[in-house]
């Protein structure tokens, strides 16, 4: 007899929908989460906690990662990949380790993927050096689940007509948009005059109370911050709390799963984990669902060797960890100086709580000979610069031209100017991160974490095409800001992968030779093992994709019920 019907590992976007759906269907579920369980009452607007110290992410001396960065070519033209632990490279791929995962800290800009995103290869053809494949399912199959997320997680928004408007099965969003900042009006007028289609960005944020969750209180500190009201659609507040309330779901925090044990036939029998004291514990279940976020999911499967899986679960064809993807991008910024404004406009511009909630998708598909004809483009998302004051102040300690430090009176003048004389509107650029042979996760042969298990080794090569598209979009974003009257408009497009938008590594597909999961997100040669976080995605679309992860996890939950 198994301890539980279903054991879910991880508790973020990929986990919540599965736990809720199965618990509501009457199945016993356990969720194993490596981090602590914080509630609304534990979240405060404290920049030290959220942005400057490692409270929601592990300390890197305890849980390091090894990163491989491109560092040029040798004399024979072969790429050189320099490997460094986090201490040297200055970044890591942890994005939120606590019940609810990174969804606690997301900004909740929510986009559906478009039908073309499911068939990138068929629509746009291959690109040399990129492993683009079509998805084994189409938009139609996911659409009912996008609609389900709107209701279950709580997505607020407003429908407008648009060349790339979403195909919807429901008439409207279940919640109206959250309060909007005054600058939206200017944005709308200017972008319409430019013959663009200002798009109210859907948000995974409740504008008013629903169930046990309060409505948004417009704290002004949303992205990167845990939500004290429950308005943000984190997996914890929106789904797991309800799963627990059914009486069928148990959440075990501080449970770091290090291995899935499989039998001779290849079926997974138990999950082994370290508890808070470091002691080894074991849980058996009929079905196991892995949702540890892309990097850690691949790491766990690779670490879980067994008689039938000598190279790790699902890795008979060496596919686990391959084709890791992120979201390509960068950002741009423009300054709106109060000096040129009336006192009333200045007042309105200074308001901190309401959201900008505006995007542009006019270039989701680009038809421009400069880019070689019809190519996949992407999204521009607009928002006020984050209010985090310490981080803003720190960026003023440099004279970026001379590279010298600034202090004394000049520093104080700079601070006064940036804090009190203007506000900054920024945009973020989202283009497809093309999967390549140079972006993958493996196990590091030497470096171990504090429990003595091998850590993830991550190579993060990007494809140049993505930067070309990114630059194209950034140029458009800068034009909009300039027309809006912003000064000092600039942008940076980069191949640096953002740590918080990671997917791929366990692609789904119909051919076990080049995918890890089947179309139902079950590991090809394992009857009772599913992967439901962003790992399944062969390509990621060109917008943030957490809505897609949520929707797919609801879809897979329905498949799991049929398999129980």
């Amino acid at each position: 007899m198994s301890d539980f019907d279903v054991c879910v590992i991880g508790s973020g976007a990929g986990a919540g929908p599965v736990a809720l759906t199965l618990a509501e269907a009457g199945h016993s579920v356990v969720v194993l989460e490596k981090g602590p369980w914080f509630r609304e009452k534990d979240f405060f607007k404290d920049e030290l906690t959220h942005s400057l110290r490692r409270v929601y992410k592990p300390k890197l001396q305890d849980e390091p990662q090894v990163l491989e960065d491109y560092s040029g070519r040798d004399e024979n033209g072969n790429a050189i990949w320099k490997s460094q632990t986090n201490s040297e490279s200055g970044r890591d791929f942890w994005a939120g380790n606590c019940v609810g995962g990174a969804t606690n800290f997301m900004s909740g800009f929510f986009y559906r993927m478009k039908p073309e995103d499911f068939r990138l290869l068929a629509e746009f053809g291959s690109i040399a050096g990129a492993n683009i494949v079509d998805w084994p399912i189409g938009y139609e199959e996911l659409e009912p689940y996008y609609a389900k997320v709107e209701k279950e997680v709580g997505v607020s928004g407003r429908i407008v007509s648009h060349p790339f408007a979403d195909h919807r099965s429901t008439a409207d969003f279940p919640y109206p948009p959250t309060d909007e900042h005054f600058i939206c009006r200017l944005f709308d007028v200017v972008s319409r005059a430019m013959k663009l289609h200002p798009l109210p960005t859907p948000r995974a944020i409740l504008p008013y109370k629903a169930g046990d969750r309060r409505g948004c209180e417009y704290s002004g500190y949303c992205g990167d911050y845990g939500c004290a009201t429950g308005a943000k659609g984190s997996s914890r507040a929106a789904l797991l709390d309800r799963a627990v309330a059914t009486g069928k779901c148990e959440i075990r925090p501080h449970a770091k799963v290090y291995r899935l044990v499989s039998d001779k036939k290849g079926k997974v029998k138990t999950a082994e984990y370290f508890d808070k004291t470091g002691a080894v514990q074991q849980i058996s279940a009929k079905i196991f669902v892995v949702a540890c976020q892309a990097v850690e999911t691949s790491r766990l499967l690779l670490s879980s060797t067994g008689p039938h899986h000598p190279k790790g679960l699902g890795n008979n064809h060496n596919q686990v960890g391959k084709n890791l993807i992120f979201s390509t991008g960068g950002s741009g910024m423009g300054e709106f100086s109060y000096e040129k404004m009336s006192p009333r406009t200045t007042d309105l511009l200074k308001r901190q709580g309401p959201f900008v909630n505006r995007g542009l998708q006019d270039w989701y598909i680009i038809n421009d000979q400069k880019l070689g004809g019809r190519v996949k483009g992407g999204t521009l998302d607009f928002m006020m610069r984050h209010p985090n004051p310490i981080s803003r102040a720190k960026s003023e300690m440099w004279d970026w031209q001379s590279g010298k430090m600034v202090w004394g009176e000049p520093l104080k003048n700079k601070l006064e100017s940036t804090f009190t004389r203007s506000r900054y509107l920024i945009f973020e650029v989202f283009a497809d991160w093309l999967p390549t042979d140079n972006c993958f996760v493996s196990l590091d042969p030497k470096v171990k974490d504090k429990w003595g298990t091998p850590v993830a080794r991550i190579r993060t090569g990007y494809h140049d095409h993505a930067l070309v598209v990114g630059e194209y979009l950034a140029k458009k974003g800068k034009e909009v800001l300039t027309k809006m009257g912003a000064t000092n408009v600039n942008s940076t497009i980069t191949g640096d992968p953002p740590a918080n938008l990671a997917a791929g590594g366990c692609r789904f597909g119909n051919d076990p030779q080049n995918s890890v999961l089947n179309a139902d997100c079950r590991v090809h040669n394992v009857d009772n093992l599913y992967v439901t976080d962003g790992s399944f995605m062969p390509t990621g679309g060109s917008a943030p994709y957490t809505w897609t992860i949520y929707a797919n996890a609801f879809r897979v939950a329905d498949k799991i019920i049929k398999n129980l």
Partner: protein, 205 residues
Amino acid sequence: MNISRLIFNEWENELPLSLVTKHSRRQFIQRLTHLSVFAAGLPVIIKTKSVRAADCSPDLIKTNEPWQTIIAVQNHLFPAGPKSPGAIEIKAAEYLQIILAAPDMDPEECQFIINGPQRINALATEMYQKKFIALEDGAREKVLRRIEKNMAGRNWLISILSYLFEALLSDPVYGGNPAGIGWQWLNHQPGYPRPPQNKKYWMLK
């Protein structure tokens, strides 16, 4: 080898690798731009060398070294203005003492900060035959600019300034920014709810 070379060489041996990363230009750029959907790259703290056994608990007597020098440097970097608070008003030294004593402080980083004044005073003595606190403003500036050119020195200054900004703009619950003096100066509106005494970052687990 001249004395300042010696000072700097020794100092660089003490520089924790974690700080170089934490203070890298990339970290600053990331924090500046990517804060919403693309989350900020957070400071990386990792022990790369074995930590010396020396006790890092800061000496709370401000009239003693190393605090005399640290306070003098803080005042030089962040002087009070006619309408703006300086290092003293924002309690930069008190704040730094609290943070260095916080349970999650990296002992190597703490040690590095505490040892800085020795180097600064050695350099000040080489340049002006006086300790840093005995120097006029102009001479202080010259010593600090010299320090800035050295990797360890630059990282030390970045640390001092970074914690000074925290004292200026973090929640008063941490001991700096008394009654929100820094927020008022910069017209900054804090977010709510604000952290209570029993929920400081090292207490959340």
